[in-house]
């Protein structure tokens, strides 16, 4: 399967959210609803996206945007799968069963943002100590130990 076939396939499977492809880099972007994330992920894996490159999240203020990057070695392509979860009930299905690589990466996202991955076998803090309070990469994280940098620019 090459990039064009992939695009057509994805467009027909997800008609409401036709993926964007930037031709220049061979990178695609697929925005799915959080309830369909696992389904889309397993679809992609069956299409040959055998590597999960990155799992991360962005705090957009009222929601969290989860960003997954999957890669296909055969098609030389990478796709971003993005989804949004609400801030107060931040939880999403884990993709650990599809790519074991998600294990540590999801733990990191949990550690930094407090997003719960359902179905993750071992969801604990990974970088911070177990008794840490709060999720540092949230924009509203408060810690009296932080010294804000004076504005020089």
């Amino acid at each position: 399967m090459n990039i064009d076939e992939l695009r057509e396939h994805l467009c027909s499977t997800y008609p409401d959210l036709c993926p964007l492809f930037s031709v220049e880099y061979g990178d695609g972007m697929l925005m799915v609803d959080s309830s369909r994330l696992h389904e889309a992920a397993s679809d992609l894996r069956d299409l040959g996206f055998d590597r999960l490159g990155m799992v991360t999240a962005v705090d957009t203020g009222d929601e969290f945007e989860l960003v997954y990057r999957v890669q296909s070695r055969e098609m030389h392509a990478g796709i971003f799968v993005k989804t949004r979860v609400a801030r107060d009930v931040a939880s999403i299905a884990s993709v650990n069963d599809l790519w074991p690589a998600a294990n540590w990466q999801e733990r990191e996202v949990f550690d930094m943002f407090g997003i719960v991955f359902e179905g993750h076998p071992d969801l604990r803090r990974i970088l911070l100590t177990d008794d840490w309070v709060g999720y540092p990469l949230r924009k509203d994280y408060e810690d009296e130990r932080i010294i804000r940098r004076p504005d020089y620019i």
Binding site: M54, T56, P100, N103, M112, L137
Partner: protein, 364 residues
């Protein structure tokens, strides 16, 4: 089956190559389960970047992978360039390739040396460190720093090659491959080292892909994936080089792949030095304060440890809204429990060394 013991290694242990703690469950001397505990060097660089301008983040990226600072610089700069739509002059691209291949050598020297040290051959470390010091000296002539270079900047590199640098660099690439051959004989031809490395910590290709490993760890298992060739960036398509591959994916293959990569790097450097043309090394007309349009960008390069990516989100202000570093060492270290199972405690040390983690990058 006998009673199991739990042994704690680290977080400051000479053979964990940094500050990693491993909690090992042992049955006799056999590892039943090894659980790495990371985060002892978590410095919050991603959070800090949110309060710096785009240019001020570059020194922070130096401190990520401190054995190969140039890579993090470059990956970050590529991401910024993609976000802000900056075109980099050709000479700067060539310089970036040259310094990054030199950096690969410096970093692999560390990796091979510690493989030697872990198996009891400290003299290999002496050889490789002498080679590393040559590279560090070249970098010092280039930008004045031995370790934290801050050399690759958004839009190009900070300064042009100094006079006489090209000749020094050529002299280095000429003397380096023979030394590698010598180390190949000295270390990998040694009966003891072979016995300690062969068949230890076998990573199957399926696991290597599924666990998201990259770089020499994946290539040691025979996974033919190198971003320099498969997702070509910069001027790499113009060079002719090979991607060394391992056969079975044990510690021996991983270390040996590193060794051959150094030789290939020398080839790339020589070709780049032949092709490089005079010109400007920094994009013209960049604003002093970069404030890219709102949006996000991701770019990755092949670092000494694997595919190193930087994901940037901009909200239109002069500071990144979010920076995420996709760290190869983090993903590579995740396979440690898989590899260690069933081996002895002393082999565990060799396995950690063969994954070549740098904890600045694992923990960020």
């Amino acid at each position: 089956m006998t009673e199991q013991t739990i042994v704690n290694i680290g977080p400051s242990h000479p053979s964990t190559h940094g500050v990693c703690r491993v909690i090992v469950t042992l049955d006799g001397e056999t590892v039943v389960h090894a659980e790495p505990v990371i985060g002892h060097l978590h410095r919050g660089i991603e959070k800090m970047a949110e309060n710096r301008t785009y240019l001020q983040v570059v020194p922070l990226t130096d401190r990520l992978d401190y054995v190969g600072s140039m890579y993090a610089n470059w990956a970050y700069c590529r991401s910024v360039e993609r976000l802000a739509g900056i075109r980099v002059p050709e000479r700067a691209e060539y310089i970036r390739v040259i310094v990054c291949e030199l950096q690969r050598i410096a970093s692999h020297m560390m990796g091979i040396g510690s493989t030697g040290a872990d198996t009891g051959a400290t003299s290999a470390f002496m050889y490789t460190f002498a080679q590393r010091d040559h590279v560090v000296e070249l970098f010092e002539a280039l930008c004045g720093a031995r370790l934290t270079y801050n050399y690759v900047r958004p839009g190009g590199v900070s300064m042009d090659l100094p006079d006489g640098w090209v000749e020094q660099c050529r002299a280095f690439t000429a003397q380096h491959p023979p030394v590698m051959m010598e180390i190949d004989r000295l270390l990998f031809g040694n009966v003891i080292a072979r016995a300690r490395l062969k068949g230890v910590g076998v990573l199957t290709p399926e696991d290597a892909v599924g666990w998201g490993t990259s770089g020499p760890v994946a290539r040691g298992s025979g996974v033919d994936w190198d971003l320099r060739r498969d997702d070509p960036y910069s001027v790499y398509p113009r060079f002719d080089f090979q991607i060394p591959l391992g056969e079975i994916g044990d510690c021996y293959d991983r270390a040996r792949v590193r060794l051959w990569e150094c030789v290939e790097s020398c080839k790339i450097i020589n070709q780049a030095l032949d092709q490089i043309e005079p010109g400007s090394v920094h994009a013209e007309g960049l604003p002093r304060l970069l404030a890219p349009r709102p949006g996000d960008a991701y770019d990755h390069i092949e670092s000494a440890r694997g595919s190193l990516g930087v994901y940037l989100v901009s909200d239109g202000s002069p500071r990144p809204y979010r920076m995420k570093v996709r760290s190869p060492a983090f993903c590579n270290l995740a396979v440690l429990p898989l590899l260690a199972e069933g081996h002895t405690l002393s082999d565990l040390i060799v396995i950690i060394g063969s994954l070549d983690p740098v904890f600045g990058e694992v923990d960020r």
